[in-house]
């Protein structure tokens, strides 16, 4: 916990996809899911190092749509929570190449 606290003062904020609000972008660090499921996500574009932008969601915020690698994929919170991201400190809407 101490470490992540220190991280916030650096140039990146660590968290998971659920921490992103609509329009926020972040870089995927890793997927905390069993191999097969992580692979499935990776095939859809959720690869470490990829920029992910949070999009609209169902009423109540779950599931949420994420723009990743040129497409829009909806994930439930329980899955989004397992996708660890680091965010640039200035959170502003970032244009992905295509969505």
């Amino acid at each position: 916990m101490q470490l992540s606290g220190n991280y916030q003062t650096a140039d990146a904020i660590q968290g998971s996809l659920v921490d992103l609000h609509r329009g926020d972008a972040a870089i995927l660090d890793g997927i905390d899911l069993p191999g097969e499921e992580a692979r499935r996500l990776m095939e859809l574009g959720f690869l470490p190092g990829t920029r992910i932008t949070a999009g609209r969601s169902a009423p109540g915020g779950d599931p949420q749509v994420f723009q990743v690698d040129g497409s829009e994929i909806a994930l439930r919170r329980e899955t989004a929570r397992r996708l660890k991201v680091r965010r640039e400190k200035v959170a502003k809407p970032v244009h992905t190449p295509r969505a």
Partner: protein
């Protein structure tokens, strides 16, 4: 982009392949979901396709014949949409098995048409790696050329072809532009691919990096995001408007399907009766005429009356699916479904089960998770299908007084029927909960749903689907239902002595009814209801026709009509018991058959039939003993 001039590999081998062939070449069509694979398949094959069912696997395949300009024919196999070829899910397993020739029921394809979405080429190219690695002649088809161009994207086809070592075609399958390049490939020599390099297939990041490099080499410029999709999502996924539109769409579909139920049934009923009367005047009075009219015409005819409703349902599903709204609807419904333990994709099948469980169970194919899919299949028959409605109306009209409950808005009879609908829904939810927290637990598989861009549905695609469904529906009416009807007719007429049919209680059907009477007596049913229950296993509404025949043969009950006869034979408790029995029991041979086919064996339909019958019996028993 014109013809084959762009692909170097074609130029290298322009000599036509003269090899003698027996039968048409087989070519597989594969691509990621939403790449327009099926649109192209329909474009290439037109109406000459058939639905083939891979036995033991719950995936339905389409095969079709494409006729080349020179008159030769090519057999095309439409494989399921997949993101990769590593065989893990059922869809991928089928694709992998077909491509590698491991399916005994399908000839190994000689070539592959790889369909990719040109508007998201970099990611789509990931699938090219495992396909090219198969070493089979491959045409890489970049679909949605129109979207790519209108949104300012571009790609160098020559360079892409050089990188992949395979011919590349840029087409727009929906408009049909560029499709002649596909025919050129199919008619040509079909050389084996020679890609410059391929990544390690098991390594997803390396595959993605390779795809990115290939895109870069081909000077791929991705198009800007689709403006209209963003605008429409601002409405359809709006926190307030989104759910309201969703409810309006659901209610609208529900209302329309029931709105046309009576007129369409009347119209087809008029046709069936008219043609029946004509047969009665043409054929002499004989056993054959009795079979034709009393059996085939009334039995199969009553089922065909449901065709317009089924087609209307598939029209709505087709529009929702092709336009891209279905994915949004599934997103909005996901939370509610999650509470029951199912996922958003289960919502459409459960909704359509209000019309009929058979198309509902067929539409569970969109659910990737096998356990979720089976759970949805198992609870779908609890939803009140349209076959239950005539039974409800008959019994309610016979027993519930015509009193208003809420002024002119709701009568006691309507409230009772509404209550039965809610009862079915409650049992479906309860069963789903139990299944998902016990034998079909599957919290671990992530819910992934790609949101496709909105598109206009095309008449061709939806028309083909409706045609397909009509064929399936009429086939069923002409097989299962026809057979059951004929068997029933025979059972009522056996033993046939001295040119007369037996008294109904002495006929085979009557004996069957009296045999099960001890079992159904605790529910307040007599042997006549028993025959109705037996025939209702084929299809629920058959009980009406059966009781009509049985009471019709007794001069005393015949005078007063079916309602009065029922009133005489059943206590109020027995009537409620009968309603509850119909609400819960799995009396539909088509549903049993479709569950067997979709789950690939008798295990699930047997368990489902036993469970639903047990629930129905218990419910009816309780009702018969509580209400006097």
């Amino acid at each position: 982009m014109s013809g084959c001039s762009d692909c170097q590999t074609c130029e290298a081998a322009t000599v036509p392949f003269p090899g003698p062939r027996t039968g048409p070449k087989t070519v597989a069509v594969i691509g990621p979901p939403n790449s327009g694979k099926t649109t192209l398949f329909n474009r290439l094959t037109g109406l000459r396709q058939k639905v083939a069912n891979f036995p033991g696997v719950t995936v339905e395949q389409h095969t079709g014949i494409a006729t080349l300009p020179d008159g030769r024919q090519v057999q095309l196999i439409d494989l399921p949409g997949v993101y990769s070829l590593s065989p893990r899910s059922e869809d991928e397993q089928v694709a992998f098995d077909v491509l590698t020739g491991r399916r005994e029921d399908t000839a190994r394809p000689e070539a592959v048409l790889l369909v990719l979405d040109a508007t998201n080429l970099s990611r789509n190219l990931m699938l090219a790696a495992p396909i090219l690695a198969l070493g089979m002649p491959t045409l890489v088809i970049l679909n949605m050329a129109d979207d790519l161009a209108s949104r300012g994207g571009r790609v160098d086809l020559k360079k892409l072809s050089a990188e992949l070592g395979a011919p590349v075609a840029l087409i727009a399958a929906r408009q049909g532009t560029g499709v002649e390049q596909v025919f050129d490939f199919l008619a040509g020599a079909m050389p084996k691919p020679e890609p410059k390099q391929l990544p390690v297939l098991q390594d997803v990041p390396k595959c993605r990096a390779w795809a990115g490099q290939v895109g870069e080499q081909a000077a791929y410029l991705p198009p800007i995001p689709p403006k209209w999709t963003r605008r429409l999502d601002a409405v359809f996924l709006h926190p307030v408007w989104g759910p309201l539109i969703f409810v309006a769409v659901v209610v609208g579909i529900f209302q329309t399907i029931f709105g046309i139920a009576a007129p369409s049934k009347d119209a087809i009923g008029w046709l069936v009766q008219g043609s029946g009367k004509w047969i009665a005047t043409v054929l002499p009075d004989s056993l054959f005429r009795s079979l034709l009219l009393g059996g085939v015409w009334s039995g199969v005819g009553s089922v065909i009356a449901f065709l317009p409703q089924v087609l209307l349902l598939f029209l709505f599903i087709g529009i929702l699916e092709d336009s891209g709204y279905l994915a949004r609807a599934a997103l909005i419904a996901d939370r509610t479904m999650a509470k029951v333990g199912l996922q958003g994709k289960s919502f459409i099948p459960l909704l359509s089960a209000y019309a009929c469980a058979v198309p509902a169970i067929l539409s569970t194919r969109t659910i990737e998770n096998k356990r979720d899919r089976i759970a949805t299949i198992l609870v779908a028959p609890f939803m009140t299908c349209s076959a239950r409605l005539p039974v409800y109306i008959l019994i309610v009209a016979a027993f519930i007084p015509k009193k208003q409950l809420l002024g002119p808005f709701l009568s006691e009879g309507a409230a009772a029927i509404l209550g039965l609908y809610l009862l079915g829904f409650a049992m479906a939810v309860l069963t789903a909960r139990v299944l998902k927290s016990s034998i079909l637990k599957s919290g671990r598989t992530p819910f992934l749903l790609e949101m496709p861009s909105y598109r206009w549905p095309t008449f061709q695609s939806i028309g083909l689907r409706l045609l397909d469904r009509s064929k399936v529906f009429l086939h069923r009416a002409g097989t299962i239902i026809l057979v059951v009807t004929v068997i029933l007719w025979v059972m009522v007429n056996v033993p046939y002595t001295n040119g007369h049919r037996p008294k109904i209680e002495d006929s085979l059907a009557g004996v069957a009814g009296r045999t099960i009477e001890p079992i159904i007596k605790p529910l307040g049913f007599n042997w006549k209801i028993g025959i109705g229950l037996i025939t209702a296993v084929a299809a629920r509404e058959t009980i009406i026709a059966t009781l009509g025949t049985i009471y019709g043969m007794d001069p005393q009950s015949d005078k007063h009509g079916l309602e009065a006869a029922l009133h005489h034979d059943l206590t109020p408790g027995g009537a409620v018991a009968l309603l509850i029995f119909f609400a819960f029991a799995m009396q539909c041979i088509s549903t049993i058959a479709v569950v067997r086919r979709e789950t690939g064996g008798w295990k699930w339909p047997a368990a489902q039939f036993a469970y639903m019958t047990a629930v129905a019996y218990t419910g009816a028993f309780a009702a018969a003993h509580i209400i006097h």
